[in-house]
Symmetry: C2
């Protein structure tokens, strides 16, 4: 990334981290003494150093659609809460059973299963709570954001995708259609919603429709690269268990098509994402971000 874009990227991350820290204070204090453990678990996972791609997308789509930072900071935080809730539940023994996340013990390894379950539940809920409570945006925007966020999270989004992934056990062979359907729901839905939500925060409802195509393509490329990295990277580098897909015999795009074709497909999707930005102005940052995500090593 060039210097301007890198500075912007870092300032977005700083903004969402600051906002999340302020929300922590709202959920602490003398009324949260008895249930402090769940708040600790929520913020343990929230502050474990994720890539923050989704809140970056919210903030940048808001900016290029003419919105101000305060229009979107609650939504950017909410999207990261939903993402983190999904990681906490995904790591649980009854799901992927993963001990490591973002280079640290996963939430249930640190706090026990019950508290991790509740921390995920609370983050899912708190995402909607902070949007409904935000004093910066209109009720119309709030409702549109909640509609996008809940729809991307639910049966036709992330949770639907995770349901399909539960069938993805040793020796499973998914058709391309089923696999891409799973990727679209499990990964692209929330990424794509982040882009739309950024536009909505700025009041650009037409832009929201156009942003979908970018997010859909970016999200699928993102997931294919995740699969590739799971094969070729190391645990130290990823900050989570490497080789887990192969070990568990999961069907992934990379497993079905091989590394070379997967890299080609990710590049193709990345190009399609960039092309979808044509309808927007001032897209330099997003073009670079798209390339950066394609080339990422973790």
């Amino acid at each position: 990334m060039n210097e301007i874009n890198e500075k912007r990227f870092n300032s977005y991350i700083e903004s969402v981290n600051d906002a999340l820290e302020k929300y922590r204070e709202l959920f602490s204090g003398e009324n949260a003494v008895y249930q402090k453990k769940v708040v600790d678990a929520m913020w343990y996972s929230l502050s474990a150093g994720g890539k923050r791609i989704r809140p970056v997308l919210v903030q940048e789509f808001c900016r290029i659609s003419g919105g101000s930072p305060s229009d979107c900071i609650a939504a950017a935080s909410a999207v990261e809460m939903i993402h983190t809730f999904s990681l906490i539940h995904d790591d649980l023994p009854c799901m992927d059973d993963d001990d490591l996340r973002r280079g640290k013990p996963s939430c249930h390894k640190q706090f026990g299963e019950a508290i991790a379950l509740l921390a995920g539940d609370a983050l899912e809920n708190t995402a909607f709570e902070i949007i409904s409570d935000d004093s910066n945006i209109s009720d119309e925007k709030k409702v549109r954001i909640i509609r996008e966020l809940s729809s991307a999270t639910g049966v036709f989004g992330m949770i639907g995708g995770q349901t399909i992934d539960m069938e993805n056990i040793k020796g499973a062979v998914f058709s391309d259609s089923k696999l891409l359907s799973m990727y679209s729901m499990k990964t692209s839905a929330l990424i794509s919603a982040s882009c739309r939500i950024g536009c909505i925060c700025a009041g650009d409802y037409d832009g929201a429709a156009r942003a979908s195509e970018y997010g859909e393509n970016l999200g699928t490329a993102f997931q294919i690269i995740d699969d590739i990295l799971d094969i070729i990277s190391t645990e130290d580098n990823l900050g989570k268990t490497a080789g887990s897909d192969e070990k568990s015999g999961k069907c992934t795009y990379a497993a079905l098509h091989g590394i070379d074709d997967s890299v080609k497909q990710a590049r193709k999707l990345s190009d399609a994402a960039k092309k979808a930005l044509d309808g927007f102005e001032d897209t330099d940052f997003l073009l670079e971000l798209t390339d950066m995500l394609l080339r990422r090593k973790k």
Copy 2:
């Protein structure tokens, strides 16, 4: 209950059951083939024959506040979804580990732990989705409802209460203050929110504030009676494991104060709830409902 009230009670239950069935259709169909299992698990638990007290409260507070049935049917369904999500997660092995719920195998016994976890997650999310998507009420009402519902569900509500309950293990002795704090969050918060939400659906925002006192008292009485029934009732009657509190050595109001004092306390709270209805008109149904819940045998 007299005939008129009983008829009303049954019509509320019928309405929410019909609405939930219609929502099921929205989450089925050709776009929900791959993830059908999670939808089946959600509605397995939703339609397992709960008491539906919360959606009844939403509908009745809406009615006495001057609203029409269509103003509150989405909210009534959403409240039941949140309640059912909490039961599914509460029954999981890492929480209360209960095999039986509403006289049937609990969700994870029927669908496995992973799908039960996801079904709970999806119900929590879908509650907010159906409110944001409702075509009958204004954005202002939607935002107010979502604020009430999320706040009653989260860190200062149900999930906060469940967190405290996780410390409630063999031999735990809670102070009255901690125990009542737990009851207030775990049980009263959502019951009280249901009453407020009913008023909000009707546009009576002042009524919402007054409804809290009714809901708080009713909710605590409800939980104390639950404790008593857990001691004196049978599994056949309750439709869930009886004697589970004593078996797990949990601290409850009944365990701390004995059955007689608990019955007295429940009656006192019930009276306080009825008194709080003074600010409303046409409260005959709620007065009878309050008595009925005090005398319930399951």
